[in-house]
Amino acid sequence: MADQPAAPARAGYLRLAGLTKVFPGEGGPQGAAVAGIDLEVAHGELLAVLGPSGCGKSTTLRMIAGLIEPSAGTVEVGGRDITRLPVHRRDMGVVFQSYALFPHLDVFRNVAFGLEMRKTAKSEVRTRVARALDLVRLGHLGDRRVSQLSGGQQQRVALARALVIEPAVLLLDEPLSNLDAQLRGAMRDEIRRIHDETGITTVFVTHDQREALSMADRVAVMNAGRVEQLGTPEEVYERPSGRFTAEFVGRANLLPGTVTATHGAGGGAGAEVAIPGLGTVRATGDAVTPEGRATVMLRPHRITLRAAGKADAGPRGTVLSAGYSGEVIGYRVRAAHDGPELEVEHPAGAGTAFGPGAEVLIGWDDAAPRLVADDGDPA
């Protein structure tokens, strides 16, 4: 960050540099609520901030919006430092988790509020509010009281209210967490569609990894006030940088072992790792300790189980339990007799189902094993 103070043509439209918040009375062993975040969001990008409860997602978002004053660091939009700019002059649309609609105004007046603040002409207010309400598919409910709306409808009013001002940046703080599963799925697609239609730079906070992976252009995985990893959904899922990301973004078997050989470098790097009970596993990645130890990540759905015949070679295991959950069957399998316990997922209805005690052969997709830095921070 300290290099090139006046770099021209910045890639980041929204830039956070060293953004930190220490709440009064905090700063014990836990440290700051937000501990120095550096982040760049490109113009028109949809970035998801994903992390567990209490990791500082809302605090970060509220600092971007200007609702919380940072203890240190800067917020820039379009190359302009807005760290000290008051909330009402920042031109940011915010959708709160609780929606925070104005209870004394009807739907139309709620959405029109931001335009009225901008002294937009009456006729233009009417057309723009109507367009925003159409965008969230609420065109017919303009004169409803907000208390007469369902949760999903209120959420869409909040979205329309934030969108209608065509803000520089749209900030969404877990806007879907109060909705039921079905509505959440629909709203997820809706928000992505609206984002694509409007092209507004968007930061979307969530603790739901499926939401983050399915909606975002890039995902910032947060833990304990820091960004653990920033990358495309595929990157954070397939190539997590550390144990925390591997376990928080989807489920993972993390298997420690001894490196017997390494090859390649950079993107093509790989290693052979001897894992007790599984034999030698070929994995991609370069996260190898100087002592020659490594941790291999295997996603449960990329492991296959076959009924074991007497003569079959390869790693074997015993099914400990099987759990049916509609689309998949989740198994727990003990590799060898004293090897690691594995989580395995099979599509339900495909192939043989195994019961507890069954002897199985354990196999996996060749591309699946991935080296993950063991930051010693189990999720």
Binding site: F96, G114, S147
Partner: protein
């Protein structure tokens, strides 16, 4: 709760007796206010509206009514102007010594009015603020602001601070946020607080006795001084008028509170 008919009748009787006990003075005063006799005694000697005519013709009462109305109106306005920002600060800001400030705002409620009155007399006499409108209003502010702070604080507790933040992100400055979002949310509380302040000031007697004089004499003090020398049905008539005023105010407060309830989703 399930109860037999005997228990229910028992409750009804008890409640009726209780209400009669509470209302008896009002009823007796109401009956007496139409008496034709020249002094107060029960039962009345006849029926006439003469006592009411006397009340409205009495120059002391006329002057007192004017003083009380002006004082109560000004007090209410000022109490709201001081109490609302105080309540806002107490609910929306986190600052060192918040508890102490809150206690300071509510402490006049703990001091007996007679002590307050005496203290104010000692304080006001040399300035001199005794026997002036401003003295009276200042004194009444001391006892009305705590109530305004309380009602407005309660109203603010029910208002969503996130809605205020949302308004700010949409481009509303602090004052606009207050006017367009906070104020509508606490309006019923303001309304009740204002009416309570008005009634308190209008009825206030003890403190007023200390700080008022001959030129600026509020109605309750005028009434007190009147009954020192005489007691005739016109005092009963005046009481009825005051009770009616209070009843109207309480109904308005009820409306205000009811309104607040209906605003909740």
């Amino acid at each position: 709760m399930r109860s037999g008919p005997v228990a229910r009748i028992g409750w009804a009787v008890l409640l009726t007796v209780l209400y009669l006990f509470l209302l008896a003075p009002v009823i007796i005063v109401f009956i007496e206010s139409f008496d034709t006799s020249t002094y107060l005694r029960f039962p009345p000697q006849g029926f006439s509206l003469e006592p009411y005519r006397q009340v409205f013709a009495n120059p002391d009462f006329q002057a007192g009514l004017k003083v009380s109305a002006v004082t109560a109106a000004t007090t209410t306005l000022l109490a709201l102007l001081c109490g609302v920002p105080a309540a806002l600060a107490l609910t929306r800001l986190r600052f060192r010594g918040r508890g102490a400030v809150e206690a300071a705002f509510l402490s006049p409620l703990l001091v007996p009015n007679i002590v307050l009155g005496l203290a104010l007399l000692i304080l006001f006499a040399p300035i001199p603020l005794t026997d002036t409108y401003w003295g009276l209003i200042l004194a009444h502010l001391g006892v009305t602001i705590p109530y305004v702070v309380r009602t407005v604080t309660a109203a603010l507790a029910g208002a969503d601070p996130r809605a205020e933040e949302a308004a700010a992100t949409l481009g509303a400055g602090p004052f606009t946020v207050f006017r367009r979002v906070t104020l509508p949310a606490i309006r019923p509380g303001l309304f009740s607080g204002g009416i309570i302040a008005f009634l308190l000031s209008f009825d206030e007697t003890v403190i007023s006795l200390f700080v008022s004089g001959h030129t600026v004499r509020p109605l309750p003090v005028a009434v007190l001084q009147y009954v020192e020398y005489r007691s005739d049905p016109s005092i009963a008539a005046l009481s009825v008028c005051l009770v009616l005023l209070s009843v109207v105010a309480v109904v308005l407060v009820e409306r205000g509170l009811g309104l607040r309830r209906s605003l909740r989703p």
